[in-house]
Symmetry: C2
Subunit: 266 residues, 2 copies
Amino acid sequence: MPRSVTAFSNATVKRLRSLRDKKARRSEGLFLAEGLRIIAEARGSGRLPEIIAFSPAGAQHPLAADIIAETEATGGEAIETSPDILAKMSGKDNPQTVIAAYRQPDLSLERIDRSAAPLWIAVQALRDPGNIGTILRTGDAAGAGGLILIDECADPFSVEAVRASMGALFTQGIAAARWDEFIAWLRTGPGQLVGTSLKADHDYLDAEYQAPCFLLIGNEQQGLPADYEAACDLLVKIPMAGRADSLNAAMAAAVMAFQVKASWRG
Amino acid sequence: MPRSVTAFSNATVKRLRSLRDKKARRSEGLFLAEGLRIIAEARGSGRLPEIIAFSPAGAQHPLAADIIAETEATGGEAIETSPDILAKMSGKDNPQTVIAAYRQPDLSLERIDRSAAPLWIAVQALRDPGNIGTILRTGDAAGAGGLILIDECADPFSVEAVRASMGALFTQGIAAARWDEFIAWLRTGPGQLVGTSLKADHDYLDAEYQAPCFLLIGNEQQGLPADYEAACDLLVKIPMAGRADSLNAAMAAAVMAFQVKASWRG
Protein backbone atom coordinates (compact mmCIF):
# COMPACT_ATOMS: atom_id res chain seq x y z
CA MET A 1 0.00 0.00 0.00
CA PRO A 2 1.29 3.47 -0.82
CA ARG A 3 2.29 5.55 2.17
CA SER A 4 0.62 8.87 2.67
CA VAL A 5 3.13 11.73 2.92
CA THR A 6 2.16 15.23 3.97
CA ALA A 7 5.48 16.76 5.04
CA PHE A 8 7.72 18.75 2.74
CA SER A 9 10.59 17.46 4.86
CA ASN A 10 9.88 13.82 3.98
CA ALA A 11 13.00 12.17 2.53
CA THR A 12 11.25 10.85 -0.60
CA VAL A 13 9.70 14.25 -1.29
CA LYS A 14 13.10 15.90 -0.95
CA ARG A 15 14.69 13.27 -3.15
CA LEU A 16 12.15 13.70 -5.94
CA ARG A 17 12.39 17.44 -5.69
CA SER A 18 16.18 17.31 -5.93
CA LEU A 19 15.91 15.66 -9.36
CA ARG A 20 15.19 19.00 -10.98
CA ASP A 21 18.88 19.60 -10.43
CA LYS A 22 21.39 18.05 -12.83
CA LYS A 23 23.95 17.11 -10.17
CA ALA A 24 21.34 15.24 -8.15
CA ARG A 25 20.09 13.48 -11.28
CA ARG A 26 23.61 12.36 -12.01
CA SER A 27 24.44 11.18 -8.49
CA GLU A 28 21.08 9.43 -8.03
CA GLY A 29 20.99 8.04 -11.58
CA LEU A 30 17.31 8.97 -11.73
CA PHE A 31 15.17 11.48 -13.61
CA LEU A 32 11.66 12.90 -13.27
CA ALA A 33 8.69 12.45 -15.58
CA GLU A 34 5.48 14.32 -14.93
CA GLY A 35 1.94 13.49 -15.89
CA LEU A 36 0.02 10.33 -16.63
CA ARG A 37 0.49 10.63 -20.38
CA ILE A 38 4.28 10.31 -20.23
CA ILE A 39 4.20 7.74 -17.43
CA ALA A 40 1.73 5.61 -19.41
CA GLU A 41 3.98 5.95 -22.47
CA ALA A 42 6.86 4.68 -20.35
CA ARG A 43 4.89 1.68 -19.21
CA GLY A 44 3.87 0.97 -22.81
CA SER A 45 7.60 0.75 -23.50
CA GLY A 46 8.08 -1.61 -20.58
CA ARG A 47 9.41 0.95 -18.13
CA LEU A 48 8.13 1.38 -14.60
CA PRO A 49 9.26 4.07 -12.16
CA GLU A 50 11.38 3.49 -9.09
CA ILE A 51 9.35 6.09 -7.22
CA ILE A 52 5.89 7.38 -7.99
CA ALA A 53 4.11 10.24 -6.19
CA PHE A 54 0.48 11.10 -6.79
CA SER A 55 -2.38 13.16 -5.43
CA PRO A 56 -5.66 11.50 -4.38
CA ALA A 57 -7.12 12.76 -7.68
CA GLY A 58 -4.23 11.19 -9.58
CA ALA A 59 -4.81 7.76 -8.06
CA GLN A 60 -8.42 7.75 -9.23
CA HIS A 61 -7.47 7.21 -12.85
CA PRO A 62 -7.54 3.42 -13.47
CA LEU A 63 -4.36 3.53 -15.55
CA ALA A 64 -2.54 5.49 -12.84
CA ALA A 65 -3.82 3.04 -10.23
CA ASP A 66 -2.43 0.14 -12.29
CA ILE A 67 0.97 1.79 -12.67
CA ILE A 68 1.09 2.61 -8.95
CA ALA A 69 0.31 -1.02 -8.09
CA GLU A 70 2.86 -2.36 -10.58
CA THR A 71 5.49 0.02 -9.27
CA GLU A 72 5.03 -1.35 -5.77
CA ALA A 73 4.85 -4.94 -6.99
CA THR A 74 8.25 -4.58 -8.65
CA GLY A 75 9.88 -3.14 -5.53
CA GLY A 76 9.38 0.55 -6.25
CA GLU A 77 8.09 3.15 -3.84
CA ALA A 78 4.68 4.82 -4.12
CA ILE A 79 3.57 7.80 -2.07
CA GLU A 80 0.26 9.57 -1.95
CA THR A 81 0.69 13.25 -1.30
CA SER A 82 -0.89 16.68 -1.71
CA PRO A 83 -1.08 18.91 -4.80
CA ASP A 84 1.02 21.42 -2.81
CA ILE A 85 3.84 18.96 -2.44
CA LEU A 86 3.58 17.88 -6.09
CA ALA A 87 3.82 21.57 -7.01
CA LYS A 88 6.99 21.84 -4.97
CA MET A 89 8.48 18.81 -6.72
CA SER A 90 7.66 19.98 -10.19
CA GLY A 91 8.34 23.67 -9.68
CA LYS A 92 5.00 24.48 -11.30
CA ASP A 93 1.93 26.11 -9.82
CA ASN A 94 -0.38 23.63 -11.51
CA PRO A 95 1.47 20.36 -11.12
CA GLN A 96 0.48 17.11 -12.74
CA THR A 97 -1.35 14.69 -10.46
CA VAL A 98 1.30 12.01 -10.97
CA ILE A 99 5.08 12.45 -10.90
CA ALA A 100 7.55 9.59 -11.18
CA ALA A 101 11.27 8.98 -11.01
CA TYR A 102 12.92 6.56 -13.45
CA ARG A 103 16.35 5.02 -13.61
CA GLN A 104 18.53 6.68 -16.26
CA PRO A 105 19.52 4.21 -18.96
CA ASP A 106 23.12 3.43 -19.78
CA LEU A 107 24.14 5.86 -22.54
CA SER A 108 26.94 3.86 -24.09
CA LEU A 109 27.00 3.59 -27.87
CA GLU A 110 27.34 -0.16 -27.61
CA ARG A 111 23.69 -0.32 -26.59
CA ILE A 112 22.63 1.15 -29.95
CA ASP A 113 21.62 -1.55 -32.45
CA ARG A 114 21.94 0.29 -35.75
CA SER A 115 20.17 -2.48 -37.64
CA ALA A 116 17.02 -1.90 -35.57
CA ALA A 117 15.99 1.22 -37.53
CA PRO A 118 16.77 2.82 -40.91
CA LEU A 119 17.20 6.29 -39.42
CA TRP A 120 19.09 7.70 -36.45
CA ILE A 121 19.52 11.29 -35.36
CA ALA A 122 22.77 12.61 -33.92
CA VAL A 123 23.09 16.08 -32.43
CA GLN A 124 26.33 17.83 -31.67
CA ALA A 125 26.75 20.24 -28.74
CA LEU A 126 23.05 21.01 -28.63
CA ARG A 127 22.51 23.41 -25.74
CA ASP A 128 18.75 23.68 -25.37
CA PRO A 129 17.07 20.85 -23.43
CA GLY A 130 13.77 21.72 -25.11
CA ASN A 131 15.41 21.08 -28.49
CA ILE A 132 16.70 17.70 -27.27
CA GLY A 133 13.21 16.68 -26.14
CA THR A 134 11.58 17.99 -29.30
CA ILE A 135 14.05 16.10 -31.49
CA LEU A 136 13.36 12.90 -29.54
CA ARG A 137 9.66 13.40 -30.20
CA THR A 138 10.33 14.11 -33.88
CA GLY A 139 12.52 11.01 -34.13
CA ASP A 140 9.73 8.91 -32.66
CA ALA A 141 7.23 10.34 -35.16
CA ALA A 142 9.62 9.85 -38.10
CA GLY A 143 10.48 6.27 -37.19
CA ALA A 144 14.03 6.92 -36.05
CA GLY A 145 15.67 4.40 -33.76
CA GLY A 146 17.07 6.96 -31.38
CA LEU A 147 19.19 9.95 -30.62
CA ILE A 148 22.95 10.14 -30.19
CA LEU A 149 24.24 13.10 -28.20
CA ILE A 150 27.70 14.10 -29.39
CA ASP A 151 30.11 16.20 -27.33
CA GLU A 152 28.68 18.36 -24.53
CA CYS A 153 24.89 18.55 -24.96
CA ALA A 154 22.08 19.63 -22.68
CA ASP A 155 20.90 16.91 -20.32
CA PRO A 156 18.28 14.69 -22.03
CA PHE A 157 16.99 13.80 -18.55
CA SER A 158 16.26 17.40 -17.53
CA VAL A 159 12.64 18.19 -16.76
CA GLU A 160 12.42 20.43 -19.87
CA ALA A 161 13.75 17.71 -22.18
CA VAL A 162 11.51 15.01 -20.72
CA ARG A 163 8.50 17.30 -21.03
CA ALA A 164 9.25 18.29 -24.64
CA SER A 165 9.83 14.64 -25.60
CA MET A 166 6.21 13.80 -24.69
CA GLY A 167 7.24 10.29 -23.78
CA ALA A 168 9.60 9.71 -26.70
CA LEU A 169 12.45 9.60 -24.18
CA PHE A 170 11.13 6.12 -23.38
CA THR A 171 10.56 4.94 -26.95
CA GLN A 172 13.78 6.21 -28.53
CA GLY A 173 17.24 4.79 -27.93
CA ILE A 174 19.64 7.32 -26.42
CA ALA A 175 23.41 7.35 -26.34
CA ALA A 176 26.06 9.94 -25.60
CA ALA A 177 29.63 10.02 -26.86
CA ARG A 178 32.51 12.27 -27.77
CA TRP A 179 32.92 12.89 -31.50
CA ASP A 180 35.94 10.62 -31.89
CA GLU A 181 34.19 7.81 -30.04
CA PHE A 182 31.11 8.25 -32.20
CA ILE A 183 33.05 8.17 -35.47
CA ALA A 184 35.04 5.12 -34.39
CA TRP A 185 31.83 3.30 -33.45
CA LEU A 186 30.03 4.41 -36.63
CA ARG A 187 32.78 3.05 -38.88
CA THR A 188 32.66 -0.41 -37.33
CA GLY A 189 29.51 -1.09 -39.37
CA PRO A 190 27.26 0.21 -42.12
CA GLY A 191 25.95 3.74 -41.78
CA GLN A 192 25.69 6.85 -43.93
CA LEU A 193 26.58 9.98 -42.00
CA VAL A 194 24.58 12.92 -43.37
CA GLY A 195 25.39 16.42 -42.21
CA THR A 196 23.29 19.50 -42.85
CA SER A 197 25.20 22.61 -43.76
CA LEU A 198 24.35 25.91 -45.40
CA LYS A 199 27.64 25.53 -47.29
CA ALA A 200 26.74 22.17 -48.86
CA ASP A 201 26.25 21.76 -52.61
CA HIS A 202 23.59 19.01 -52.52
CA ASP A 203 20.00 20.06 -52.13
CA TYR A 204 18.42 17.89 -49.42
CA LEU A 205 15.59 17.01 -51.81
CA ASP A 206 17.92 15.53 -54.45
CA ALA A 207 20.23 13.52 -52.22
CA GLU A 208 20.24 9.74 -51.95
CA TYR A 209 19.89 8.53 -48.42
CA GLN A 210 20.98 5.05 -47.42
CA ALA A 211 19.87 3.09 -44.40
CA PRO A 212 21.04 3.08 -41.73
CA CYS A 213 21.20 6.83 -42.17
CA PHE A 214 22.64 8.96 -39.38
CA LEU A 215 21.45 12.56 -39.57
CA LEU A 216 23.91 14.92 -37.93
CA ILE A 217 22.57 18.23 -36.59
CA GLY A 218 24.98 20.85 -35.25
CA ASN A 219 24.94 23.33 -32.40
CA GLU A 220 22.17 25.98 -32.41
CA GLN A 221 24.59 28.87 -32.90
CA GLN A 222 27.65 27.49 -34.66
CA GLY A 223 26.33 24.58 -36.67
CA LEU A 224 28.82 21.76 -37.24
CA PRO A 225 32.59 22.25 -36.91
CA ALA A 226 34.34 22.11 -40.30
CA ASP A 227 36.20 18.89 -39.52
CA TYR A 228 32.95 17.20 -38.49
CA GLU A 229 31.42 18.24 -41.80
CA ALA A 230 34.45 16.84 -43.60
CA ALA A 231 33.90 13.45 -41.94
CA CYS A 232 30.34 13.18 -43.28
CA ASP A 233 29.53 10.83 -46.16
CA LEU A 234 27.09 13.39 -47.53
CA LEU A 235 26.52 17.04 -46.81
CA VAL A 236 23.17 18.51 -47.78
CA LYS A 237 21.60 21.88 -47.49
CA ILE A 238 18.01 22.91 -46.92
CA PRO A 239 17.71 25.97 -49.17
CA MET A 240 16.54 28.99 -47.21
CA ALA A 241 14.16 31.42 -48.83
CA GLY A 242 14.18 34.07 -46.17
CA ARG A 243 16.34 36.69 -44.64
CA ALA A 244 16.82 35.11 -41.25
CA ASP A 245 19.69 32.82 -42.08
CA SER A 246 18.74 29.40 -40.80
CA LEU A 247 16.21 27.04 -39.37
CA ASN A 248 16.06 26.26 -35.68
CA ALA A 249 18.04 23.05 -35.02
CA ALA A 250 14.93 21.06 -34.08
CA MET A 251 13.15 22.27 -37.24
CA ALA A 252 16.09 21.26 -39.40
CA ALA A 253 16.03 17.82 -37.76
CA ALA A 254 12.31 17.48 -38.47
CA VAL A 255 12.51 18.61 -42.09
CA MET A 256 15.48 16.32 -42.75
CA ALA A 257 14.07 13.27 -40.94
CA PHE A 258 10.77 13.45 -42.81
CA GLN A 259 12.52 14.03 -46.15
CA VAL A 260 14.79 11.02 -45.64
CA LYS A 261 11.73 8.95 -44.86
CA ALA A 262 9.85 10.39 -47.87
CA SER A 263 12.77 9.62 -50.20
CA TRP A 264 12.53 5.94 -49.30
CA ARG A 265 8.89 5.57 -50.24
CA GLY A 266 8.38 2.95 -52.94
CA MET B 1 23.47 62.44 -28.76
CA PRO B 2 22.25 59.52 -26.65
CA ARG B 3 21.68 60.34 -23.01
CA SER B 4 23.56 58.35 -20.41
CA VAL B 5 21.23 56.72 -17.90
CA THR B 6 22.46 55.06 -14.74
CA ALA B 7 19.35 54.94 -12.56
CA PHE B 8 16.97 51.99 -12.41
CA SER B 9 14.28 54.56 -11.62
CA ASN B 10 14.72 56.36 -14.95
CA ALA B 11 11.40 56.58 -16.80
CA THR B 12 12.74 55.09 -20.05
CA VAL B 13 14.37 52.21 -18.20
CA LYS B 14 11.12 51.48 -16.41
CA ARG B 15 9.17 51.74 -19.64
CA LEU B 16 11.42 49.29 -21.48
CA ARG B 17 11.38 46.94 -18.54
CA SER B 18 7.58 47.04 -18.41
CA LEU B 19 7.41 45.64 -21.95
CA ARG B 20 8.13 42.15 -20.67
CA ASP B 21 4.53 42.30 -19.48
CA LYS B 22 1.72 41.74 -21.96
CA LYS B 23 -0.58 44.43 -20.59
CA ALA B 24 2.13 47.06 -20.87
CA ARG B 25 2.96 45.91 -24.41
CA ARG B 26 -0.65 46.31 -25.36
CA SER B 27 -1.17 49.72 -23.76
CA GLU B 28 2.14 51.08 -25.09
CA GLY B 29 1.78 49.43 -28.49
CA LEU B 30 5.47 48.54 -28.29
CA PHE B 31 7.51 45.35 -27.96
CA LEU B 32 11.10 44.47 -27.07
CA ALA B 33 13.78 42.96 -29.26
CA GLU B 34 17.13 42.01 -27.78
CA GLY B 35 20.51 41.71 -29.43
CA LEU B 36 22.19 43.23 -32.43
CA ARG B 37 21.34 40.32 -34.69
CA ILE B 38 17.59 40.83 -34.44
CA ILE B 39 17.84 44.62 -34.43
CA ALA B 40 19.97 44.51 -37.59
CA GLU B 41 17.43 42.14 -39.16
CA ALA B 42 14.72 44.67 -38.36
CA ARG B 43 16.67 47.47 -39.98
CA GLY B 44 17.28 45.28 -43.03
CA SER B 45 13.49 45.09 -43.28
CA GLY B 46 13.21 48.85 -42.98
CA ARG B 47 12.27 48.96 -39.31
CA LEU B 48 13.92 51.20 -36.75
CA PRO B 49 13.19 51.18 -33.03
CA GLU B 50 11.38 53.91 -31.16
CA ILE B 51 13.70 53.42 -28.22
CA ILE B 52 17.13 51.82 -28.15
CA ALA B 53 19.21 51.11 -25.04
CA PHE B 54 22.80 49.93 -25.18
CA SER B 55 25.88 49.40 -23.07
CA PRO B 56 29.17 51.14 -23.93
CA ALA B 57 30.34 47.82 -25.39
CA GLY B 58 27.19 47.62 -27.51
CA ALA B 59 27.77 51.04 -29.06
CA GLN B 60 31.23 50.04 -30.24
CA HIS B 61 29.88 47.79 -32.96
CA PRO B 62 29.71 49.91 -36.15
CA LEU B 63 26.34 48.46 -37.16
CA ALA B 64 24.91 49.20 -33.70
CA ALA B 65 26.33 52.72 -33.88
CA ASP B 66 24.59 53.26 -37.22
CA ILE B 67 21.27 52.01 -35.91
CA ILE B 68 21.56 54.17 -32.79
CA ALA B 69 22.25 57.25 -34.96
CA GLU B 70 19.40 56.43 -37.33
CA THR B 71 17.03 55.89 -34.42
CA GLU B 72 17.80 59.35 -33.11
CA ALA B 73 17.68 60.90 -36.59
CA THR B 74 14.15 59.59 -37.07
CA GLY B 75 12.91 60.96 -33.76
CA GLY B 76 13.52 57.88 -31.59
CA GLU B 77 15.18 57.83 -28.20
CA ALA B 78 18.61 56.34 -27.54
CA ILE B 79 20.08 55.77 -24.08
CA GLU B 80 23.46 54.49 -23.06
CA THR B 81 23.28 52.48 -19.90
CA SER B 82 24.98 49.78 -17.83
CA PRO B 83 24.95 46.00 -18.32
CA ASP B 84 23.18 45.83 -14.92
CA ILE B 85 20.30 47.90 -16.16
CA LEU B 86 20.13 45.97 -19.44
CA ALA B 87 19.97 42.78 -17.34
CA LYS B 88 17.04 44.23 -15.42
CA MET B 89 15.23 45.08 -18.66
CA SER B 90 15.75 41.70 -20.24
CA GLY B 91 15.29 39.60 -17.11
CA LYS B 92 18.48 37.71 -17.98
CA ASP B 93 21.75 37.56 -16.11
CA ASN B 94 23.75 37.90 -19.30
CA PRO B 95 21.83 40.49 -21.25
CA GLN B 96 22.48 41.48 -24.80
CA THR B 97 24.43 44.72 -25.24
CA VAL B 98 21.60 46.30 -27.26
CA ILE B 99 17.86 46.22 -26.50
CA ALA B 100 15.25 48.06 -28.50
CA ALA B 101 11.54 48.77 -28.44
CA TYR B 102 9.53 48.71 -31.68
CA ARG B 103 6.04 49.81 -32.56
CA GLN B 104 3.68 46.83 -32.90
CA PRO B 105 2.28 46.58 -36.43
CA ASP B 106 -1.42 46.68 -37.16
CA LEU B 107 -2.62 43.05 -37.14
CA SER B 108 -5.66 43.42 -39.36
CA LEU B 109 -6.11 40.82 -42.09
CA GLU B 110 -6.59 43.58 -44.64
CA ARG B 111 -2.87 44.27 -44.44
CA ILE B 112 -2.10 40.76 -45.76
CA ASP B 113 -1.48 40.73 -49.52
CA ARG B 114 -2.05 37.08 -50.35
CA SER B 115 -0.62 37.50 -53.85
CA ALA B 116 2.74 38.48 -52.36
CA ALA B 117 3.72 34.88 -51.49
CA PRO B 118 2.67 31.36 -52.52
CA LEU B 119 2.56 30.10 -48.94
CA TRP B 120 1.06 31.39 -45.71
CA ILE B 121 0.90 29.77 -42.30
CA ALA B 122 -2.11 30.07 -40.01
CA VAL B 123 -2.11 28.80 -36.44
CA GLN B 124 -5.17 28.32 -34.31
CA ALA B 125 -5.18 28.85 -30.54
CA LEU B 126 -1.47 28.24 -30.27
CA ARG B 127 -0.51 28.69 -26.63
CA ASP B 128 3.27 28.61 -26.57
CA PRO B 129 5.01 31.88 -27.53
CA GLY B 130 8.16 29.90 -28.36
CA ASN B 131 6.15 27.95 -30.94
CA ILE B 132 4.84 31.21 -32.45
CA GLY B 133 8.37 32.57 -32.81
CA THR B 134 9.74 29.29 -34.14
CA ILE B 135 6.96 29.09 -36.75
CA LEU B 136 7.70 32.66 -37.84
CA ARG B 137 11.34 31.66 -38.30
CA THR B 138 10.32 28.54 -40.20
CA GLY B 139 7.98 30.56 -42.41
CA ASP B 140 10.80 32.93 -43.24
CA ALA B 141 13.10 30.01 -44.14
CA ALA B 142 10.41 28.31 -46.23
CA GLY B 143 9.47 31.45 -48.16
CA ALA B 144 6.09 31.99 -46.54
CA GLY B 145 4.58 35.46 -46.67
CA GLY B 146 3.54 35.53 -43.06
CA LEU B 147 1.66 34.13 -40.12
CA ILE B 148 -2.02 34.48 -39.30
CA LEU B 149 -2.95 33.98 -35.65
CA ILE B 150 -6.47 32.59 -35.37
CA ASP B 151 -8.55 32.79 -32.18
CA GLU B 152 -6.75 33.29 -28.86
CA CYS B 153 -3.03 32.68 -29.42
CA ALA B 154 0.06 33.49 -27.39
CA ASP B 155 1.37 37.02 -27.90
CA PRO B 156 3.67 37.16 -30.95
CA PHE B 157 5.29 40.24 -29.39
CA SER B 158 6.28 38.52 -26.15
CA VAL B 159 9.98 38.38 -25.42
CA GLU B 160 9.99 34.58 -25.92
CA ALA B 161 8.30 34.79 -29.31
CA VAL B 162 10.56 37.59 -30.54
CA ARG B 163 13.62 35.67 -29.38
CA ALA B 164 12.55 32.40 -31.03
CA SER B 165 11.70 34.20 -34.27
CA MET B 166 15.35 35.26 -34.65
CA GLY B 167 14.25 38.38 -36.51
CA ALA B 168 11.59 36.75 -38.67
CA LEU B 169 9.02 38.79 -36.75
CA PHE B 170 10.25 41.68 -38.89
CA THR B 171 10.38 39.85 -42.23
CA GLN B 172 7.08 37.97 -42.02
CA GLY B 173 3.63 39.53 -42.29
CA ILE B 174 1.52 39.02 -39.16
CA ALA B 175 -2.21 39.22 -38.69
CA ALA B 176 -4.66 38.12 -36.02
CA ALA B 177 -8.34 37.31 -36.43
CA ARG B 178 -11.18 35.24 -35.11
CA TRP B 179 -11.94 32.12 -37.12
CA ASP B 180 -15.10 33.50 -38.72
CA GLU B 181 -13.28 36.69 -39.72
CA PHE B 182 -10.42 34.66 -41.18
CA ILE B 183 -12.69 32.40 -43.23
CA ALA B 184 -14.71 35.36 -44.50
CA TRP B 185 -11.50 37.13 -45.56
CA LEU B 186 -9.99 33.98 -47.08
CA ARG B 187 -13.02 33.37 -49.30
CA THR B 188 -12.90 36.87 -50.80
CA GLY B 189 -10.02 35.70 -53.00
CA PRO B 190 -7.99 32.71 -54.14
CA GLY B 191 -6.51 30.51 -51.46
CA GLN B 192 -6.31 26.79 -50.67
CA LEU B 193 -6.86 26.11 -46.97
CA VAL B 194 -4.88 23.02 -45.96
CA GLY B 195 -5.40 21.53 -42.55
CA THR B 196 -3.24 18.87 -40.93
CA SER B 197 -5.10 16.18 -39.08
CA LEU B 198 -4.28 12.70 -37.85
CA LYS B 199 -7.76 11.71 -39.06
CA ALA B 200 -7.15 12.81 -42.67
CA ASP B 201 -7.07 10.33 -45.55
CA HIS B 202 -4.56 12.14 -47.77
CA ASP B 203 -0.91 11.56 -47.10
CA TYR B 204 0.84 14.95 -47.05
CA LEU B 205 3.38 13.66 -49.60
CA ASP B 206 0.72 12.85 -52.21
CA ALA B 207 -1.45 15.95 -51.95
CA GLU B 208 -1.59 18.71 -54.55
CA TYR B 209 -0.93 22.10 -53.09
CA GLN B 210 -2.08 25.25 -54.86
CA ALA B 211 -0.75 28.75 -54.36
CA PRO B 212 -1.66 30.76 -52.44
CA CYS B 213 -1.67 27.89 -49.98
CA PHE B 214 -2.72 28.56 -46.38
CA LEU B 215 -1.39 25.91 -44.00
CA LEU B 216 -3.54 25.61 -40.91
CA ILE B 217 -1.94 24.27 -37.73
CA GLY B 218 -4.08 23.60 -34.66
CA ASN B 219 -3.62 23.99 -30.93
CA GLU B 220 -0.76 22.06 -29.27
CA GLN B 221 -3.08 19.84 -27.23
CA GLN B 222 -6.37 19.62 -29.11
CA GLY B 223 -5.40 20.08 -32.74
CA LEU B 224 -8.05 21.69 -34.92
CA PRO B 225 -11.74 21.76 -33.95
CA ALA B 226 -13.86 19.45 -36.15
CA ASP B 227 -15.76 22.30 -37.80
CA TYR B 228 -12.50 24.05 -38.68
CA GLU B 229 -11.27 20.84 -40.30
CA ALA B 230 -14.53 20.63 -42.22
CA ALA B 231 -13.96 24.12 -43.63
CA CYS B 232 -10.57 23.16 -45.11
CA ASP B 233 -10.17 22.63 -48.86
CA LEU B 234 -7.77 19.79 -48.16
CA LEU B 235 -6.96 17.79 -45.06
CA VAL B 236 -3.68 15.94 -45.00
CA LYS B 237 -1.92 13.78 -42.49
CA ILE B 238 1.73 13.34 -41.73
CA PRO B 239 1.96 9.60 -41.04
CA MET B 240 3.45 8.93 -37.64
CA ALA B 241 5.76 6.00 -37.18
CA GLY B 242 6.13 6.13 -33.45
CA ARG B 243 4.26 5.56 -30.29
CA ALA B 244 4.05 9.17 -29.10
CA ASP B 245 1.01 10.24 -31.05
CA SER B 246 1.93 13.45 -32.77
CA LEU B 247 4.50 15.97 -33.81
CA ASN B 248 4.99 19.19 -31.91
CA ALA B 249 2.94 21.97 -33.61
CA ALA B 250 6.03 23.86 -34.75
CA MET B 251 7.54 20.64 -36.18
CA ALA B 252 4.34 19.87 -38.07
CA ALA B 253 4.42 23.41 -39.50
CA ALA B 254 8.03 22.96 -40.61
CA VAL B 255 7.51 19.55 -42.20
CA MET B 256 4.39 20.77 -44.02
CA ALA B 257 5.84 24.10 -45.17
CA PHE B 258 8.93 22.46 -46.65
CA GLN B 259 6.89 19.71 -48.28
CA VAL B 260 4.53 22.22 -49.92
CA LYS B 261 7.56 24.07 -51.22
CA ALA B 262 9.19 20.81 -52.39
CA SER B 263 6.01 19.76 -54.22
CA TRP B 264 6.17 22.91 -56.33
CA ARG B 265 9.69 22.31 -57.61
CA GLY B 266 9.86 22.08 -61.40
